[in-house]
């Protein structure tokens, strides 16, 4: 980031940062359109697209019917023929409704056609538990998306990253799944001025430390940073790394830290079984094998549909306390 950009830095919420990225990219390139349920007149259920309809009009900001497969289907066709559509899928729990369009069409068309077409498509969607929205509105399905070759998967954890990564996503010629943790929309952070992008496949080290590594994604970065504070007070220096993109994954940075600390915990809010933590743990365990003092630990969401009752829901989400406990156990 340039000095100028830093100088122009402001505090924005995650929501504002995303809105700004959308706004700027739509201004920069008029092939960028945005479509989804309630994103126009209403500005999106989370208000992330507020004001776009007024600025860019109904040809480029499309309020669609409730038809996830159809919306993504149209976006794929539009992406093949010169537009750069951004689709908002209100909750990532609804990605399975568009599963075929994402997996069998968007992700594969370029490869199947040996590069004859490109699919500059971004699917933005809200994920994460914590809003007492129950099992069909609280999932974190990033593992599904990350499993599919041909997709890129982005999970920002700060307003700064959110803006820079979304711009990269919109300019990318491949389908990108961009997951926004709904609990972070109101979270504030510094955002540089000017037009900046953040490349995919580069992890961000949020905090350095030599005693243990915590690899964490999306809002789990916040949870882990809180744990790190507590642990620091106890004299344990934890390194916090956010891969930022799950696909491509910056394996190198993760492994380097694992080699340095010898103790690794991976935290992600998806279901733990066959989830994101498994892939990261497996890669780190392989890459840092000789340097690990103990097995790579994993902490995902409980392997249950997400319950409604507040006390139950909270118990399914990885917590600061759980992280602290695991680090204590690791260092014991």
């Amino acid at each position: 980031m340039s000095m100028l950009e830093r100088a122009q830095e402001r505090e924005l919420t995650m929501r504002e940062a995303i809105n700004e990225a959308l706004r700027e990219e739509m201004a920069r390139d008029d092939s960028v359109i945005i479509m989804g349920e309630d994103i126009g007149v209403a500005g999106g259920v989370f208000k992330v697209t507020a004001g776009l309809l007024d600025t860019y009009g109904p040809d480029r900001v499309l309020d669609t019917p409730i038809a996830e497969a159809g919306v993504v289907g149209l976006a794929v066709g539009a992406a093949m023929t010169g537009l750069r559509p951004i689709v908002e899928i209100m909750f990532n729990d609804f990605l399975p409704l568009a599963g075929d369009q994402i997996v069998n069409q968007a992700a594969k068309l370029r490869y199947m056609t040996a590069g004859q077409t490109r699919i500059p498509l971004v699917i933005r969607t809200a994920m994460g538990a914590g809003r007492r929205a129950a099992a069909q509105h609280s999932q974190s399905l990033q593992a599904w998306m990350s499993h599919i070759p041909g997709l890129k998967v982005v999970m920002p954890s700060t307003p700064e990253d959110a803006k820079g990564l979304l711009k990269t996503a919109i300019r990318d010629d491949n389908p990108v799944i961009y997951l926004e943790d709904k609990m972070t929309y109101t979270q504030k952070g510094p955002v540089p001025g000017g037009d900046y992008v953040i490349p995919f496949g580069r992890a961000r080290i949020h905090r350095e430390g030599g005693d243990a590594t915590i690899i964490c994604t999306s809002s789990m970065v916040i949870t882990a940073l809180q744990a790190a504070e507590v642990l620091a007070a106890e004299g344990i220096a934890v390194e916090i790394i956010d891969p930022r993109t799950l696909s491509p994954l910056d394996e190198e940075t993760l492994i380097r830290s694992a080699i340095k600390t010898g103790h690794v915990l991976v935290v992600d809010e998806g279901y733990q079984n066959y989830g994101v933590t498994a892939e990261i743990a497996a890669r780190v365990a392989e890459g840092a094998f000789a340097y690990l003092d103990e097995p790579v630990r994993r902490l995902g969401a409980a392997d249950v549909p997400i319950p409604f009752a507040p006390n139950l829901e909270d118990a399914t989400i990885p917590s600061t306390q759980q992280i602290i406990d695991i680090v204590h156990k690791m260092r014991a």
Binding site: D63, I66, A67, H137, A315
Partner: protein, 334 residues
């Protein structure tokens, strides 16, 4: 109002008994009071999660469900309280569920959008738009395969009409001649998007294109809904296959509790006012009083009974404990 208590209802097999009319009134009042109480406790921060209120739409659920047997099945939507109460759901266990309490229908694990009562044939509210369509149609398949005299009713919205699942399941119901009634609650909007702007053609036309007979009815007139539903339910029960009913109505309280005032700027106060004028409860009340079959006192008594029922239910819910934390890992598998 075209139907009457005295005269024989066209399509029905006789006059509408006063008892039924009063039961309609009672259930509509129950739903109204339930929903307004949700509004209250939600506004006061007592209820977690999301709440989509049925206020203003009571005639649809009640007019339809009073044609059903307990053994018939219904599926509901995210806006489910009205359907559940109309089908006989217990306000106590519903409120408890809304608050995430151990005494709730789902022991607090489902919340507003997932209440089920298998004994009452309530196969569930559903958080996925169109999510009940497969389930209701599948239940009708069960009835057919097992030779049971049960029908299914799937309530769904004008917004859900545009999901492919309606098309896929209704087609199967038509081919297999399944005993299922599709009740489309057309309240003009799917969230903040107008139905006119998102839907080409009408629900009935789409059903008819799949050989499913369809009717449209004023969804704020419980007698008309009841009569039309009688037609649809008989059609299904007599083995003639699926039927489709569009009920035109309006949700007074917006899409959900977060949709107050001008937050989403998609509807005008004038529109809300016009629909409030068409209050289904007031319409039935005025009709009943003008028929002189009922006194004002009788209705006031019903109002009071229901008020008490609802207040007792909320109290029960509020006093109930949260589920034991061990519930987190229970019921993932049978």
């Amino acid at each position: 109002m075209k139907a009457s208590l005295q005269s024989s209802l066209p399509g029905s097999d006789g006059a509408l008994p006063l008892k039924t009319a009063l039961e309609m009134y009672r259930r509509m009042v129950r739903i109204r009071k339930f929903e307004e109480t949700v509004y209250d406790i939600y506004s006061r921060g007592i209820m977690p999660g999301l709440a989509h209120l049925y206020t203003g739409m009571e005639a649809v659920a009640v007019g339809v469900c009073l044609n059903l047997l307990q053994s018939d099945n219904i599926t509901s939507t995210h806006r489910g309280h009205g359907h559940l109460l109309a089908k006989g759901g217990d306000p106590k266990r519903m409120f408890a569920e809304l608050l995430g309490k151990a005494t709730g229908y789902n022991r607090g694990k489902g919340g507003s959008m997932h209440i089920v009562d298998m004994n009452l044939g309530i196969l569930g509210a559903n958080g996925i738009v169109g999510g009940g369509l497969g389930i209701a149609t599948g239940a009708a398949l069960s009835a057919k395969v097992k030779g049971e005299n049960r029908i299914s009713v799937a309530f769904f919205g004008d917004g859900a009409l545009n999901e492919g699942i309606f098309y896929e399941t209704a087609n199967m119901a038509s081919i297999l001649q399944l005993p299922v009634v599709y009740v489309m609650e057309n309240n003009g909007y799917g969230e903040y998007t107008s139905s006119d702007e998102s839907t080409a053609g009408s629900g009935p036309a789409r059903a008819e294109a799949m050989n499913i007979p369809a009717k449209t009815v004023d969804g704020n007139d419980v007698l008309l809904v009841h009569q039309a539903a009688q037609w649809a339910v008989s059609h299904a029960r007599e083995g003639k296959g699926p039927a489709f009913l569009e009920c035109k109505t309006y949700r007074w309280r917006g899409h959900h509790m977060g949709d107050q005032g001008d937050t989403y700027g998609y509807r005008s106060q004038a529109e809300i006012d016009a629909w409030t004028e068409k209050c289904p409860i007031r319409r039935l009340k005025e009709y009943l009083l003008s028929s002189e079959a009922v006194t004002s006192e009788e209705l006031t008594r019903i109002d009071a009974d229901e008020e008490q029922l609802i207040q007792a239910a909320v109290k029960f819910a509020r006093q109930s404990p949260y589920p034991d934390i061990a519930e987190v890992y229970a019921d993932v598998y049978a």
